[in-house]
């Protein structure tokens, strides 16, 4: 004997409060008979059925509905699989914002993301870097001893404020650069988006703590220079992901790691030391991501290294006529390391800053070596790096 339509008993539930979910669920398996007591059931069911393309027949004690066309899953396209192993080489624009592993309805209008090549953005390190980044998030209100005493001389405080002014400006550039690429990355590369987003959040926190440290004893900050901004501008204006990430993360943030560690060691007070120590931990992850995806990219594309070298040279040429690091920042570093204006202290501070500059150069040469540059070329490129450090 043929089975009759499945019964959907809505009782007092109307289609104005979700009754259509029950009807739609039942329609997946074929024709249904709907009964219910809601006073507007007849009006609403007819309107709903019309919009759904269902055929409706009114009965004495209910309504019969025959399903309409249009299962959106028919013809839907798979978008790889959820895990990192499911990343494809070139996700198409028609996958749009779909979660990796979802199925995309056929006919979905494409959304263009120009960073859509695995070779350009991917590294297998991404899931690990993201997990580390999430676990390493720190709360400035808790992690920094904000009430620690500041008992160093006023002029050393001025030097700290100048350094913080410089750091905020540089961290702002370090926030904007990944933010721009984040918005251009195909969402299929979920882990890239996540790592870049956390990188932005890290920089937002750095901007907060450096600003707050600068304002502990001063109402105004230090000097922002034309040369410093010109240097950072070349980072903001670099449209190529590999080149920008090379200049920012490998060369710039790599050098910044040394700088932050230097201030974490020589800073005159526990607050300055803590903000720089915590920021340097985050920056190390940013450098690691830049290194990891560029190493993979370089291994797949032999043309990348010459392009990276050319980018350093181009940036050097663009900045040739600028002052580079402002004298205020350099002098502030010396004074912070010295701790006082005593001539022998200044000499110590001077030597320490010379050591910092040498350490930055060494770090750049090591990282360039890890990217496959021969020793002599690495040394030459490192020497061309901006005098602004970032």
């Amino acid at each position: 004997m043929a089975r009759g339509p499945a019964l959907v008993a809505l009782g007092p539930l109307g289609l104005d409060r979700g009754g259509h979910l029950l009807v739609r669920r039942a329609l997946r398996d074929g024709a249904v008979r709907v009964r219910g007591d809601h006073p507007e059931l007849a009006v609403h069911l007819r309107a709903w059925a019309r919009a759904e393309g269902c055929r409706l027949t009114a009965l004495d004690d209910g309504f019969d509905l025959v399903p309409g066309p249009g299962d959106r899953r028919v013809g839907a396209e798979s978008t790889g699989s959820v895990g990192p192993g499911g990343v494809v080489e070139h996700p198409p624009a028609r996958w749009g914002l779909a979660a990796r592993g979802a199925r995309v309805e056929a006919g979905t209008a494409p959304i263009a993301f120009d960073l859509d090549e695995k070779a350009t953005v991917w590294t297998d390190e991404l899931p690990r870097l993201y997990a580390m980044a999430v676990a390493a998030q720190w709360d400035p209100a808790v992690a920094i001893p904000w009430s620690a005493p500041l008992d160093h001389p006023e002029e050393v405080e001025d030097a700290v404020v100048q350094l913080m002014t410089y750091l905020v400006e540089n961290e702002t550039a370090a926030l904007l650069v990944p933010a721009r690429f984040l918005a251009r990355t195909h969402p299929h590369f979920r882990e890239v988006l996540q790592v870049l987003a956390i990188q932005c959040a890290d920089e937002a926190r750095h901007i907060e703590v450096f600003t707050r440290r600068a304002g502990l004893r001063r109402d105004t900050l230090g000097l922002s220079t034309a040369g410093g901004q010109a240097s950072l501008r070349t980072l903001l204006e670099e449209p190529d992901f590999a080149l920008a990430s090379f200049l920012l993360s490998v060369m710039g943030e790599g050098s910044f790691l040394s700088l932050l560690r230097f201030v974490a060691e020589h800073g005159p007070d526990p607050i300055t030391r803590a903000v720089c120590r915590l920021a340097s931990q985050d920056e190390a992850r940013h450098v690691a991501f830049g290194m990891a995806h560029l190493q993979r990219h370089a291994s797949l594309d032999p043309g990348l290294r010459p392009r990276l070298a050319a980018a350093v040279e181009r940036r050097h040429d663009a900045l040739r006529d600028t002052a580079g690091l402002n004298a205020e920042v350099f002098d502030a570093l010396v004074l912070v390391a010295a701790g006082s204006w005593a001539p022998e202290a200044i000499a110590r501070g001077w030597d320490a800053v010379q050591g910092l500059v040498a350490e930055m150069d060494l770090g750049r040469r090591v990282r360039l070596g890890q990217l496959g540059f021969p020793v002599d070329e690495a040394a030459a490129l490192s020497s061309l790096h901006t005098r602004n450090f970032m």
Binding site: G14, L15, D16, R17, P39, E40, A42, V43, H44, R46, A47, W48, R50, A51, E52, G53, G68, P69, G70, D71, R72, V74, G75, E105, A106, G107, T108, A109
Partner: protein, 275 residues
């Protein structure tokens, strides 16, 4: 072969997306096609009567206008196709759930909020329904984009809001908007009660006159009726235009509107200028 030229009224920016999409679809299927947008249905009907377009995507009121002028001139208009969602609609007259109004008779002399003056679904057919029941009311119109025959939802939404704000005692809506307004929170669930439901009527159709290019028009209708919602290439277009299937045109669903415009004299001034 010159392109089949369609007229449509731009009641929303998406109209461009819709007809660009259809033009592409028809072109890919060997039917040269182009379209012209009008700001109001009266201009479109005039252009159609003058032979400046071959087929018009007409509101039900525009259909009545085209049909009546055509008859006067010894011509004939046809409805060649319509959406499944254009067939068998109903309008509702709703009151607040706590209203003492229990029957249409209780509405006598009360304030009734309707949509735009030329909206078949939110004004003309419900007012005819009231008149047929012998109930005279004070009509408060919510004129959003007059000339677009109520295609824009704004007039009905304003009427619904006026009901909740107690500015009117009843509001007139198409059935689907009563459900839609419940879902989007304009009329929260259980805040209103349906007092009356009109008879069933039809909405838009593609209208052609007797002198339309026969082969192109036949191809146009064939292609429409052949569109399947299961085909992902055309589904987005059908979603935008709000249908699951095209149906052959019919004119049996316009009786209520014909009666309403006769009773209310809606078209008299316009028709007077078009002998």
């Amino acid at each position: 072969m010159r392109p089949l030229l369609l007229g449509a009224v731009a009641y929303d920016p998406k109209v461009v997306t819709i007809w660009d999409g259809f033009a592409r679809f028809f072109g890919e299927h060997g039917l040269p096609f182009d379209y012209v947008l009008y700001t109001n249905y009266e201009s479109q009907v005039e252009a159609h009567l003058d032979g400046r377009i071959d087929v018009a995507w007409n509101s039900p009121l525009a259909w009545v206008e085209a049909d009546r002028v055509a008859r006067r001139r010894g011509r004939s208009a046809r409805s060649v196709a319509m959406r499944d969602t254009d067939q068998d609609l109903a309008s509702v007259i709703v009151v607040r759930a706590d209203s003492p109004i229990r029957s249409l008779a209780d509405l006598r002399g009360r304030r009734v909020g309707v949509g735009a003056a030329d909206s078949p679904q939110a004004t003309l057919i419900p007012l005819d329904h009231l008149a047929e029941a012998g109930v005279e009311v004070e009509v408060l119109r919510h004129d959003v984009l007059v000339g677009k025959h109520g295609d824009h939802i704004g007039g009905e939404r304003d009427a619904a809001r006026a009901l909740l704000a107690d500015a009117v005692d009843a509001a007139c809506l198409i059935d689907a908007n009563h459900l839609g307004f419940a879902r989007d929170g304009t009329l929260p669930a259980a805040s209103t009660r349906v007092l009356a439901t009109t008879g069933l009527y039809d909405h838009c159709n593609f209208t052609a006159f007797e002198d339309a290019p026969a082969a192109e028009l036949a191809r146009f209708v064939d292609l429409l009726l052949g569109m399947s919602y299961d085909d992902p290439a055309v589904r987005p277009l059908m979603d935008l235009e709000g249908l699951k299937a095209w149906r052959p045109g019919r004119t049996s669903g316009y009786a209520l509107l014909e009666r309403a415009v006769d009773r209310l004299g809606t078209l008299d001034p316009w028709l007077a200028g078009r002998r």
